[in-house]
Amino acid sequence: MGQVLLEIKNLKKTFNEDLHVLKGIDLCVKEGEVVSIIGPSGSGKSTLLRAATFLETIDGGEIKYLDKVAATTENGVVKYASKHELKEIRNYFGLVFQNFNLFPHFSVIKNITEAPIHTDHVSKDVAYERALKLLSKLGLSEKKDAYPCELSGGQQQRVSIARALAKEPKILFFDEPTSALDPELTGEVLKVIKELAKEHMTMIIVTHEMQFAREVSDRMIFMEHGVVQAEGTPDEIFNSDNARVQEFIGKF
């Protein structure tokens, strides 16, 4: 495995002064790695992804992508990189949301091409070519002119994965990508993620799909009460002697 793409150190996040949601998280992800994050509801998994993608500001610690420091803490004060640098760093990652957040007024192809064209200044032709390739890969070629409201949940989520991939990120974050789907639709989305894993796409996946996580991950992280309680290969996690991990996995 290659270089370190993401390094999070001692990350802290507090809501409303006294709700300590992240209490010093360390996370290091190397190129090509698939890391899944599991843990009970409210343990801070989404908050961690949102902090890593700058949707939440952190209250302590450090976030580094490759050699670029996005946020760091000096003498207890968090300092973020400049707006310009953050924009550059944003290009390193993509985020797939639980409820897709597609743009409903754009067709599928426009959902995918708009960001590359207008934020990365990729030419229209290149952006369309890239989008069509992604759509065919995700089995959505015939839906390119459809609007999100005309698609099933599973199709919408695949479009949102294509939208994230079109920016050619180095890391892709997923926050419970199948939680909003009917059970019979989760398979098609999980299959896409497994295929990406085979192509060694670096991914950090928050999920409650234990079997899937076991299959797809190089490493699993069990989070609870804002800290990493256990970390290891899927086999290590599934055979952990940590009582909390056992109890959590036993539920599935």
Partner: protein
């Protein structure tokens, strides 16, 4: 006064009513957006001022506002009223008033947008300006259209209030002829005109709503 002269006077009144309507839209539609942003400003002073402005515009009669805008400069500062100021005052009065109403409609539309749209745009690298104009505004337009239709229809009828400062628009003309000739006919013509005008407005708005119904 024969029939054709009367019709001609009414026709001029109609043109004036249409002018007030169109010019008010031209100024108040964009001004409303500025007011809406002021109303949502993070700066408490700006927000407070704009909130007060909206409450005055919505809480006092438009007729009174027109009179104030028209006579205000004269009584407050002793400015001599030029003959074409009457028309300008009408447009200013209507635009200020309607901008307040439109602002509240825009604000409702903008605030109803799901947070996820902003977040998706942010992660994809759109800046604030692109996010608003490409992602948010087009969806807001669709959301506010029914409320905008109502307000626009009200504006058609409200143009008659300009008669309060003796603007020679349709209602003013019609009521003057009716009074001097003791006939209800001009009032009926005026009523029919407002009705047809609004029929057309509603038709156009419906067309726009249809055009935007390609997505949910």
């Amino acid at each position: 006064m024969n029939f054709s002269v009367m019709l001609q006077l009414l026709g001029n009144g109609m043109l004036m009513s249409i002018s007030i309507f169109l010019l008010t839209l031209v100024f108040s539609l964009p001004l409303g957006m500025v007011v809406a942003f002021g109303r949502m400003s993070k700066n408490t002073i700006i927000r407070g001022i704009v909130k007060f402005y909206i409450s005055v515009m919505r809480g006092t009669p438009l007729m009174l506002q027109l009179i104030l805008v028209y006579f205000g400069p004269h009584f407050l500062f002793g400015v001599a009223l030029s003959s074409n100021y009457r028309f300008i005052a009408t447009i200013i009065g209507f635009s200020l008033n309607y901008a307040a109403y439109f602002a509240e409609i825009y604000r409702g539309g903008i605030e109803s947008m799901p947070k996820g749209q902003y977040e998706a745009a942010e992660v994809l690298g759109f800046d604030k300006f692109q996010t608003f104009f490409k992602i948010i505004l087009p969806q807001v337009v669709k959301r506010v259209l029914p409320a905008m239709t109502n307000e626009t229809i009200t504006l058609v009828k409200d143009t008659s209030l300009a008669s309060a400062i003796s603007m020679v628009e349709l209602f003013d003309v019609a009521s003057q002829i009716a009074a001097s000739k003791s006939t209800i006919m001009p009032i009926m013509v005026a009523g029919l005109f407002y009705y047809v005008f609004n029929f057309i407005v509603a038709f156009i708005m419906e067309k726009i709503e249809k055009r935007l119904s390609y997505y949910k």
